[in-house]
């Protein structure tokens, strides 16, 4: 393989693995939107909170597996409570009310997180070493491989859940039409809580892999910003869309950084996804896989 091609391959590979990790976070967003129609602007803060909880647990000399269990349980409890206390009273209100509420939650988390857990950046070491793993002519840091694997695992599990399990089908029914779902004997509120709990689990794992890659402090919440280009590209309510959207955003970002940065002096990585997002909004506002309203004429 020529050197140019090898360079491109390395960029795509690294972009894809980072992209899958974006997908992981976007998945939490999609789960909530799909079931409850709530747009969660605090997704990044969820991830930050999860990271903070993990490093704190590790700080108490807990073994990693215990820390992961703790963070998963804590995030389930947190999102459960958030749904009950903040969002349940807003049921039936305009979408904007929910959006403002989640923005408020985000601000609170960014403020209180460091206050409780401390402000310094802490490492979140995973027992996977630093030795890059070679894939073809390129190689990846092990954390990216782990992150991508975790993301893929979640996608397989959720895909099965929504397509094959009765609970998953019921959840999609709730997303489709709450009133009718209710009349079919589905306890809508319980499914809302379940959706948030699932978002909590995803955020917990997102916090572990992203925290391990970037270090844990308030800045970790910024990965949440990448959620929007990903879900708008893939479709707000599509699980598969989150996967594909994440991959595309990751790869675009990586290619922009590799090919454009040398000419403009860096930073393209941060805005390339948004340029793509705006283009998508102009061409396919419901995303690649988002559901289109079926119109009868």
């Amino acid at each position: 393989m020529s050197e140019d091609l090898e360079f491109a391959f390395a960029l795509v590979l690294s972009g894809a693995s980072i992209g899958l990790m974006y997908s992981l976070i976007a998945l939490g967003f999609v789960l909530v939107y799909k079931a409850t129609d709530a747009i969660n602007f605090a997704q990044g803060e969820f991830v930050m909170l999860a990271g903070l909880i993990v490093v704190t647990a590790l700080g108490f000399e807990a073994p990693l597996i215990a820390a992961v269990v703790v963070v998963v349980l804590a995030m389930i409890g947190f999102s459960f409570g958030l749904e009950k206390v903040v969002l349940r009273p807003l049921l039936g209100r305009p979408v904007v009310a929910v959006i403002m509420a989640t923005i408020g939650v985000a601000a609170v988390l960014r403020g209180w997180g460091p206050l409780i857990f401390g402000i310094e950046t802490r490492n979140l070491p995973l027992p996977i070493g630093d030795e890059p793993i070679a894939i073809g002519p390129a190689s990846l840091p092990p954390i990216q491989v782990v992150g991508a694997a975790v993301a893929l695992l979640f996608f397989v599990v959720f895909n099965w859940f929504f397509k094959k399990s009765r609970m998953g089908v019921a959840m999609r029914a709730v997303a489709d039409n709450q009133q009718v779902a209710q009349a079919m004997g589905i306890n809508v509120e319980r499914y809302f809580a379940l959706a948030w709990a699932m978002a909590g689990i995803v955020s917990a794992l997102g916090g572990v892999v992203w925290g391990s890659m970037l270090g844990v402090d308030v800045q970790l919440a910024l990965v949440g910003l990448k959620v929007f280009p990903v879900v708008i590209l893939g479709g707000l309510d599509s699980i598969g869309g989150a996967l594909v959207g994440g991959l595309i955003i990751g790869i675009v970002e990586s290619l922009a950084a590799g090919y454009l940065d040398p000419y403009v002096g860096g930073g393209t990585k941060d805005f390339a996804p948004y340029v793509l997002m705006i283009l998508v909004l102009m061409v396919r506002p419901y995303g690649i896989f988002g559901r289109r309203q079926i119109e009868r004429v």
């Binding site: 009765r166 709450q178 079919m184 004997g185 589905i186 079926i294």
Partner: protein, 264 residues
């Protein structure tokens, strides 16, 4: 089987929509509720099934009884669990789900997967057309197929009482007859009790055993369906026939000449 006694419904704590409605639905029979737009038919159904609460409506007086159980004030999903299910006006299938997934969602109250499977088989024997469309996204089914799916989906909870809200809405006359024939079979074979709300009074009175007429949130007339068919007011205002039984021309309609007798 189902009895509603003197029910009052208030929306938003202000607007009185039902002003003391009493209806009885006998076991294994079809009872129809007729009335013009805005009479309160759909509200009556929603008050029974409990979905009223999600629309900020409330039963403020009276009782709703399913068998021996009092169900007013219960939440919709609990009512369904007890064996009463509502089929909404305008079909309202889960558009993003396939036909079969709609049925699976409808069978949510079944305890295990076997119950769901049996339910699906039963629905397919009554509505063979749904079987052909089983893996199609239900939003793209035809109007008639969607109505069949809406009824089939409701049957998945193995109900004793079905509230059927305007199944004929927007369907071709042939399809309407087909659907009503199936409903009639369901009532006889599955011992269902049906409360049928209809605008199509001719069709409704043809299949029903008993009928009620509603106006302005009140029941103004009730009786066995064949008696109602012969009632001259019903003929005039709901069936569009003149005294002699011939189809009436709209040109001859002089509403000021004849007043509905039940309005005093």
């Amino acid at each position: 089987m189902l009895s509603i006694n003197n029910v009052e419904v208030v929306y938003d704590r202000v607007i009185l929509v039902l002003k003391g409605v009493s209806i009885d639905v006998g076991e294994g029979s079809i009872t129809t509720l007729l009335g013009a737009n805005g009479a309160g038919k759909t509200t009556t159904l929603k008050a029974i099934s409990g979905v009223l609460r999600s629309e900020r409506g409330e039963v403020t007086k009276g009782t709703v009884q399913l068998g021996e159980r009092r169900i007013d004030g219960m939440r919709a999903h609990d009512v369904t669990r007890l064996g009463l299910v509502q089929v909404f006006e305008g079909r309202r299938v889960f558009e993003n789900l396939t036909t079969e997934e709609n049925l699976i969602a409808g069978g949510h109250v079944q305890k295990d997967g076997r119950g769901v499977k049996q339910g699906i088989d039963m629905v397919y024997t009554y509505f063979p057309r749904l079987k052909e469309r089983r893996h199609q996204q239900s939003g793209y089914l035809s109007g008639g197929e969607q109505q069949m799916l809406a009824i089939g989906r409701a049957l998945m909870s193995r109900p004793k009482v079905v509230l059927l809200d305007e199944p004929s809405l927007g369907l071709a006359p042939m399809l309407v007859e087909e659907i009503f024939a199936i409903v009639d079979r369901l009532v006889r074979q599955e011992k269902l009790s049906v409360l049928l709300v209809e605008q199509n009074a001719t069709m409704a009175l043809a299949v029903a055993d008993h009928g009620y007429v509603m106006e302005n949130g009140r029941i103004v007339l009730e009786g066995p369906a064949d008696k109602l068919r012969d009632n001259s007011d019903i003929k005039e205002f709901y069936l569009g026939l003149n005294e002699g039984g011939a189809r009436k021309s709209y040109r001859d309609t002089k509403h000021y000449k004849r007043r509905k007798r039940w309005l005093s």
